[in-house]
């Protein structure tokens, strides 16, 4: 059947994010888990909920394996998504003969709440890494994968004598642009940090005094 012609980019925009497709299993599924242990190591709480709120920075980061880091085969500038959204330089200047890009992920916990926006840059009230009042001691972030699922987890320990309530969680990312320091000949880098997702817990997760918790974010690209 011949349809009416498309006259503008606006017409196309209405087509590229259709809202009338039949319900299907989503391509991407994500959820958050928390396991809480008391000071004797007994599991005292298990919390699980869907993760719903990815930011534009997540979208920009995942654009790298799709559109690459150059605008084209003969254009030595980074794509606009990387410069305009992530704030990366269009090229690394004055630092040796080449440059490359890698990134880290982490998990940030918080004790506040805020409305979601895809341009959010941080948690409402981040819980600092430490042993002071209201602080949690974050261990090294662990990342693994199985097929198209990626798991990110972190263990936190409450070394204080008071319980700490966790109400918000974010997946964070740090992009690292590596280059050679022209003066030393050694590896050098610039870093750029982002909030990749933001969720509030449906019920707070309470880490008891001298207890610990493991928070895990699972990203599944089911394929």
């Amino acid at each position: 059947m011949v349809t009416s012609d498309l006259v503008s980019e606006e017409d196309i925009a209405k087509l590229i994010i259709p809202d009338d497709l039949p319900d299907e299993e989503p391509i991407f599924k994500a959820y958050i888990e928390a396991k809480v242990y008391d000071k004797e190591g007994h599991l005292i709480q298990y919390h699980r909920q869907p993760m719903r709120s990815l930011t534009q920075y997540f979208l920009a980061l995942m654009a790298i394996p799709i559109i690459g880091t150059f605008q084209g085969p003969s254009t030595n500038s980074a794509p606009g998504i990387l410069t305009n959204v992530l704030g990366l330089p269009s090229s690394v200047s004055g630092n040796g003969n080449s440059a490359n890009i890698t990134w880290n992920w982490s998990i940030q916990l918080g004790s506040g709440t805020q409305a979601f926006s895809p341009t959010l840059t941080g948690l409402a009230a981040p819980i600092a890494n430490g042993t002071g009042t209201g602080e949690l001691l974050y261990s090294t972030v662990s990342v693994s994968y199985a097929g198209s699922m990626i798991f990110v987890s972190v263990q936190v320990t409450n070394t204080t004598s008071s319980s700490i309530s966790v109400t918000e969680i974010g997946l964070t990312g740090t992009v690292i642009l590596g280059y050679i320091n022209p003066n030393t000949g050694n590896y050098a880098s610039s870093t750029y940090s982002f909030l990749l997702s933001y969720d509030t817990f449906s019920t707070p997760v309470t880490v008891p005094a001298y207890g610990m918790a493991v928070f895990q974010i699972t990203l599944s690209f089911t394929g």
Binding site: D5, L6, I12, L15, I16, I17, L21, P26, I27, K29, Y31, E33, K35, Y37, G41, R48, P50, M51, R52, S53, L54, Q56, F58, L59, A60, P65, I66, I67, G68, T69, F70, Q71, G72, P73, P79, N84, V92, N95, G96, N97, S98, A99, N100, I101, W103, N104, W105, S117, P118, V143, Y145, A146, S148, M149, I150, G178, I180, M212, Q216, S220
Partner: protein, 236 residues
């Protein structure tokens, strides 16, 4: 004593974590194709959800901690079937994804949206299209335009998205049918180590990062064209 459960987070996706009837998924990809006849009139609009990042995409998405903490590499496979062990690091000799530089450049870029006339049942493990349609004007071929990438991400309320697209013209003399579509990244891995005056690098070539079998085939009439749009969106 730490409870046993700490080492035993169940990796199986809980069914109630994505009850699709109750809330929208946080991330979606849509594939749209607009087919025009030889006079430029739209003769078909094809829309479907895109489903299939490949294993190459997953490997390229993994953060640095995975490679450093596990001292592991990830096997990437290009469209020619060659493999490489991808193991980025923040050291001078690690082979990472290239980034623009003022002096020597090794371009990693969107090579093309590729279309094909075959299909395969396991998109995750696909390294190439089953039957790529060649770029040209011969029988069964399509003339590939340049891929278009956006300059930014569009944000509207809680939604954010970007779209890539590419147009294919049919100058073959007869109808050409498309049944599969993929996104091809030209990947250049380079270290920062300089041997002589040359940076150590690995032009790994074309890598399939996304693949879809169309829910129904698309016929591009002779003299006509098709434009493929991939839209990646969060919180749609």
């Amino acid at each position: 004593m730490v409870g046993r459960g700490i080492e035993d987070i169940d990796i199986k996706m809980p069914r109630d974590a994505y009850d699709t009837g109750k809330h929208m998924p946080t991330f979606n990809v849509y594939l749209t194709a607009i087919v025009r006849d030889s006079e430029g009139r739209v003769v078909k609009i094809h829309r479907q959800r895109s489903h299939s990042p490949t294993a190459n995409f997953i490997g390229l998405m993994l953060p640095l901690q995975y490679f450093i903490n596990t001292n592991s590499s990830y096997t990437l496979t290009n469209t020619g079937g060659s493999t490489t062990s991808y193991q980025p690091n923040t050291t001078i000799q690690a082979y990472d994804i290239s980034y623009p530089n003022a002096e020597q450049n090794f371009q990693t870029y969107l090579a093309m949206i590729q279309v094909g006339s075959g299909q395969q049942s396991n998109p995750y493990s696909a390294n190439s299209l089953a039957a790529p349609i060649a770029n040209g004007s011969g029988t069964g071929q399509l003339a590939y335009g340049q891929p278009s990438i956006p300059s930014t991400i569009t944000v509207s309320g809680s939604e954010a998205y970007f779209t890539i697209s590419q147009t294919f013209n049919n100058n073959s003399g007869s109808t050409v049918t498309i049944t599969e579509v993929g996104i091809i990244l030209n990947l250049w891995l380079n270290s920062l180590y300089i041997s002589g005056s040359i940076v150590e690098n690995n032009n790994f070539g074309n890598v399939l990062v996304w693949y879809d079998v169309l829910s129904s085939s698309i016929s591009v009439p002779n003299g006509g064209s098709v434009t493929i749009y991939y839209t990646f969106t969060v919180n749609p």
